[in-house]
Symmetry: C2
Subunit: 349 residues, 2 copies
DNA sequence: ACATAGAACTGGCACGTGCTAGTTTTTGTC
DNA sequence: GACAAAAACTAGCACGTGCCAGTTCTATGT
């Protein structure tokens, strides 16, 4: 049934491989960690028997004995739309530096702290915390408690306790406003879901761009509660309804979040407003929903690959030299033009 | 900086706690694993010092020594929309049985096999594979290779090698058709994205319901490639455009996937068709997108909590008795009525 | 044939914990 | 206050691996 059972109930160990070949366990160890000191013939034989017995190294024993850990701990929120994409790209980034990943989820009933605690038990060399619900004080406490460097991927700012990786939200939004102005838009509204952690930064981008272009600011701030899952979407829908009640619609609506943009979009579509012919709508994140061919949202891409790479790089840097001061990596954004934007008053074929 | 440094570069161990109190390491071990044989006073003191030193058990050392593993390995796809929700609910389910979780991602560049291999290195007591891209032969090979029981959460069928957990897709779709018929619909179309793994099962539900109700079957099969990320959405959009080209629209469109439903929805909305006033549209999965207040899709809920509970239960059952034959758990679905359905020809206020 | 260096291989200890089998201390009983 | 029994605590080995310090083998040059 199982691969070559050694008779014992346990999975095969290096000793089993060694016994099988009539060599010492140390030699097997040498081969399996690619250390010098074994002949090619021996390497082949060891590898073959390992395969045959279905050997798999005991991660626990290895981490127990090893001086240097080769694991990075990652905390993430499974239910979030963009975080899992970062996870996906963080694997190769870590592998490039010789690190494995250990994932730990933070959920509604499982706090960041608990996830971190579990990772520390695995003796990771560093911690990457993605989209934590903790504020600065919480993250600082967490960094103090952690014997290894902590990297926060989110919306934090440079500080003395943990590394920060975030996207250039202000620049991204400003670029979007500039793009719309380039298409000929003059009436560009902005929806501001103020309870969103990154809201302030992105809002600054709008304000700055509008001022520089000499346009009239037209901000629709929507209060709310961040913990509520559908807040983003709801905020867009609310702002959309407000817009519809006005005498005239703007020609473009900029939002700092894809879900908020979809909220606006749906409300407009249901009232017979054409997008992008009558109104252009834009988002932020390039979440999966923005890519749906039916939604086809022009948005600001928060590159998950670059975020992952930057996070790993920050962790590796401080693992290498614990004395270094934590840094701040600002990942550039990219404008993704899709079908929800067009010159004002345009008709499509 | 760090919590009470013991002077060594390493994190504190049980021996450190013991030395701090002038007791033996074994006593500390007793207390920390809640074993009998220590006075209340000692328990308090040990716990206090552990806290003070920032002690965290070395998972590796523990798994090395322990007879019985207390970890369940979970393979999942971060980019998928519904799997992360199962992850979220699987934590408490595992905890209820005394198990911790070790997550391992499968991505475009990281095959199921690689994720499993890593988990086996952690010496998990069982493996839960969610939404694997492997077919039955692949899963069978994987189960053979694994020294511990494997549970497949997806679309497999009962077999002798691994446990299967899946939702009752046929029953769910049939219930949806029945619900629409109850609202007065007679022209109920079905979009069939045939490349979707669960497509066949769900299609059977439509066929069965239509036959039972004496309605005319109206199926729009859309071929495609499963690996292509936006296939589901595209399939819906394609089917929607086909429908619009016909002389008359059906009064309801049933789809076996939320993204497909959104594809249909968007195409209809853009052509001025009102949902649900003119046409009702339904999905399957209750993915996050269905809950967006702007989409507000009536759908069939594939309860992620029940899936998680069933998966853990299956794993625990076979961990307890490896001789048991693998089972098949069919998780019931629930109809979630939202705003995309209404009686035919109805006008909302 | 002999020394020599390098390649190939082995011995032994340590990592931090769980568990079984002991030993000491406290408690209860007449 | 002696004795048993229970409670509280300790000794020691084992888990599978990495790494350092040896030891044996093989090739090379004279």
């Amino acid at each position: 049934m199982r691969p070559d059972d050694t008779g014992r109930g346990r999975p095969p160990t290096m000793a089993d491989i060694a016994a099988h070949l009539g060599v010492s366990r140390q030699l097997v160890s040498l081969v399996l960690r690619d250390a010098p000191g074994a002949s090619d013939r021996t390497r082949r034989r060891v590898r073959q028997v390992a395969e045959q017995l279905g050997y798999s190294a005991h991660v626990g024993a290895r981490s127990l004995r090893r001086t240097r850990s080769t694991d990075l701990g990652v905390v993430f929120t499974p239910a979030h739309s963009t975080e899992p994409e970062i996870i996906e790209h963080i694997y190769p980034a870590a592998a490039a530096h010789g690190y494995d990943l250990i994932l730990s989820a933070q959920t509604a009933v499982r706090a960041t702290g608990q996830a971190v605690e579990e990772l520390l038990g695995h003796r990771c060399a560093g911690l990457i915390v993605i989209g934590s619900h903790l504020d600065h004080a919480g993250l600082r406490a967490l960094s103090r408690r952690s014997p290894v460097p902590v990297v926060d991927v989110g919306y934090g700012r440079r500080n003395a306790h943990y590394d920060v990786v975030r996207s250039a939200g202000d620049v991204g939004i400003a670029a979007m406003v500039g793009h719309l102005a380039g298409l000929g838009h003059r009436a560009i509204a902005y929806v501001d879901p103020v309870a969103m952690p990154a809201a302030a930064l992105r809002r600054r981008g709008y304000d700055r761009a509008v001022r520089r272009l000499g346009l009239a600011a037209d901000v629709h701030a929507v209060p709310g509660e961040y913990v509520k899952g559908d807040y983003f979407d709801e905020a867009g829908a609310t702002a959309g309804r407000t817009l519809l009640r006005r005498a005239s619609l703007p020609t473009a609506v900029v939002t700092p979040n894809d879900h908020t943009a979809v909220g606006v979009l749906q409300v407009l579509l249901r009232e017979g407003v054409r997008v992008p012919q009558d109104v252009s709508v834009t988002g932020f994140d390039d979440a999966p929903i923005a890519r749906l061919s039916s939604v086809d949202l022009t948005t600001v891409r928060q590159d998950p690959e670059l975020m992952g790479v930057a996070a790993v790089r920050a962790a590796v840097r401080r693992i290498g030299d614990a004395g270094l001061a934590p840094g701040e990596a600002v990942v550039p954004t990219a404008l993704v033009e899709r079908g929800s934007t067009a010159p004002p008053g345009s008709r499509r074929f």
